[in-house]
Amino acid sequence: MAATGSPILEVRDLVKHFPMTRGVLVRKQIGAIRAVDGVSFDLRRGETLGIVGESGCGKSTLAKLLMGLERPTSGSVRIKGREIADAKESELKRVRRTIQLVMQDPYTSLNPRMTVGDIVGEPYEIHPEAAPKGDRRRRVQALLELVGLNPDHISRYPHQFSGGQRQRIGIARGLALQPEILVCDEPVSALDVSIQAQVINLLARLQRELGLAYVFIAHDLSVVRHISDRVGVMYLGKMVELGRDAEIYGQPAHPYTQALLSAAPVPDPEGRERRRRIVLQGDPPSPASPPSGCRFRTRCWKAQEICAQQEPPLQLRPGTWHESACHFAEVYDAMRSF
């Protein structure tokens, strides 16, 4: 899983605001939902970047921006050095051979009226140059076998498969064009725990065999830890902490990450009582009118005057080895038990 070489995905100051309008005949913009508000990161070949955060923090919008399904308000997304933020449709189509998507819900992400063969083979119909016509069926069967499905089931319909198998079909579709990056938007959240493990292991094996890079979006901390090399923590459209998985899980520096980790259940009863749980007050603020300065300050126990005035940039802080966006970042020792 070693990440090597120059980044194949570079994201810089990515912003997506969804305008809120009012009026029937004359539309007036009365504000904007700041779904993603200045996110930057790199992804190297063969690397897995986990993105965690609670519902509504902009994870899925980020995935859509990376896929070119939404146009960013500003900022840049470069895939193998090619800018896609303002690329034309035809250019985007070429880039799509490099970056592909695995969606969350295996029950809605497969067209119920197409056979598995047609679903997995559709990428070749859209990109005829990717595979000669006579070779497609064989390739589809090879893909099904690659993801652990019976290649003879090529003529079946999605409803004849279980949730885990359907997710494998979705993964096979994503792999058809031999992409180098796979954006997985909560790929196991809709599955049973036992099936989750199978799919995660499948993704890990595919990464080893095909050298894929993953952007792995999830809200399940343990799943992300299992598969990721690096982890980014998002809060209200911002990346608040970014580092190697051991750093994020072992020495979290941002208060939000610490609270998030302390809320995760610990299976080991030994020492569980001694662990301190940080219970955050209130709900996340509305992304339509985020707090000034640090967005987390309204729920943070460390908040001071400066937090309301100055927005803390994501950078290396004294006493930590990875980037965090907190004026008072410090490693929280009680987390060792996690």
Binding site: Q104, L110, P123, R156, L202
Partner: protein, 329 residues
């Protein structure tokens, strides 16, 4: 859609995909998902697509076979009525006023009407006009309403706003009044003008149903997945959205067919539709209505043919709709 190459007959072993396949067979591969579907079905490992699978399934449905046989007979009746009766109802010499309002007998199977004409022959000959009006109006309504609904629902924005407003204008016209108005413009009532009037007033319903179904289908994950693959607008519309939104339109179309045949009768009754000496079921029903209590058969038989035709098309629509849903197979 799907090609018929036998696996492993083409492609050089050096391609990256072959590398995938080789890896898949490596011992590191985990056991296949234990919850694999029941053993290989009859349709396995054979090229398939929605339409060919639907056809394969349809041929074994009793409902489809029954309705198809019925429709074939009706179509034959419309095309060559001479096959079914030797009496030519357009020949006035065949009607004898002395035989008026006879009950069914061996000479006149369905009895005679108040002009003394054979009801069976008239019913058989009336099939053509009724069916042509019903089918053509249904076809035009479904094509126009369906396609416009597909475009409006898929594109959204100003095309949707424009088409929806136009549809609402037609919606606002009361149908009988609207048809009277349109037909009054043409002066002469033929089955084509009747068809046009019916289609003009009925397409907004199909349009709305299609538009709503398309808007629902458009936001589905599989459409987003296809967009992520770089699918064109046409592919999204006709490969993904249309097959998943056509079911309700098929149902409406089959119901419309009956409504149109009945509406043609109503317009003829009002004197703006098809006129004598043309023969249609609607005209026959309208003619027989005032004397229904004295002679029921001139009304009952064309009405029965009308009901059977509508039933046959509704059954066909149901069978097709079910066959197009893989979950119901």
């Amino acid at each position: 859609m799907s090609d018929t190459t036998i696996p492993g007959t083409s492609g050089s072993p050096g391609t990256p995909r072959a590398r995938h396949a080789r890896h898949a067979k490596s011992p590191a591969q985990p056991a296949r998902d234990p919850r694999s579907p029941k053993g290989p079905g009859p349709q396995d490992a054979k090229p398939a697509g929605l339409w060919s699978d639907a056809w394969h399934d349809l041929r074994r449905r009793p409902l489809f076979i029954a309705s198809a046989v019925l429709i074939c007979v009706i179509l034959l009746m419309a095309a060559v009525p001479q096959l079914f009766t030797s009496v030519d109802p357009y020949d006035a010499a065949g009607c004898r006023l002395g035989d008026a309002r006879q009950a069914p007998s061996s000479g006149h199977w369905f009895g005679t009407d108040s002009q003394g004409c054979d009801t069976f022959a008239r019913t058989v000959y009336g099939t053509r006009v009724s069916l042509l009006v019903g089918l053509s109006a249904t076809l035009v309504t479904t094509l126009v309403g369906g396609l416009l609904g597909l475009v409006a629902g898929f594109r959204g924005g100003w095309p949707d706003a424009l088409l929806s407003r136009v549809a609402e204008i037609f919606f606002a016209v009361p149908s009988v009044l609207g048809a009277l108005l349109i037909l009054a413009v043409f002066r002469t009532g033929t089955m084509w003008t009747v068809m046009l009037a019916l289609a003009m007033l009925a397409w907004p319903m199909t349009f709305r149903i299609m538009r709503a179904a398309v808007i629902t289908a458009k936001g589905q994950d599989y459409v987003i997945a296809a967009r992520a693959l770089g699918a064109s607008g046409g592919r999204l519309m006709f490969r993904h959205i249309l097959p998943n939104s056509i079911a309700s339109v098929i149902v409406v179309a089959t119901v419309n067919l009956g409504v149109f045949i009945a509406a043609e009768a109503g317009l003829s009754f009002l004197g703006v539709g098809v006129q004598s000496p043309s023969i249609s079921w609607g005209l026959m029903i309208a003619d027989a209505r005032p004397r229904f209590l004295e002679a029921a058969s001139p009304l009952l038989f064309p009405a029965a043919f009308l009901s059977l035709t509508v039933l046959a098309f509704i059954m066909l629509g149901d069978a097709v709709r079910d066959a197009l849903d893989p979950k119901l197979r």
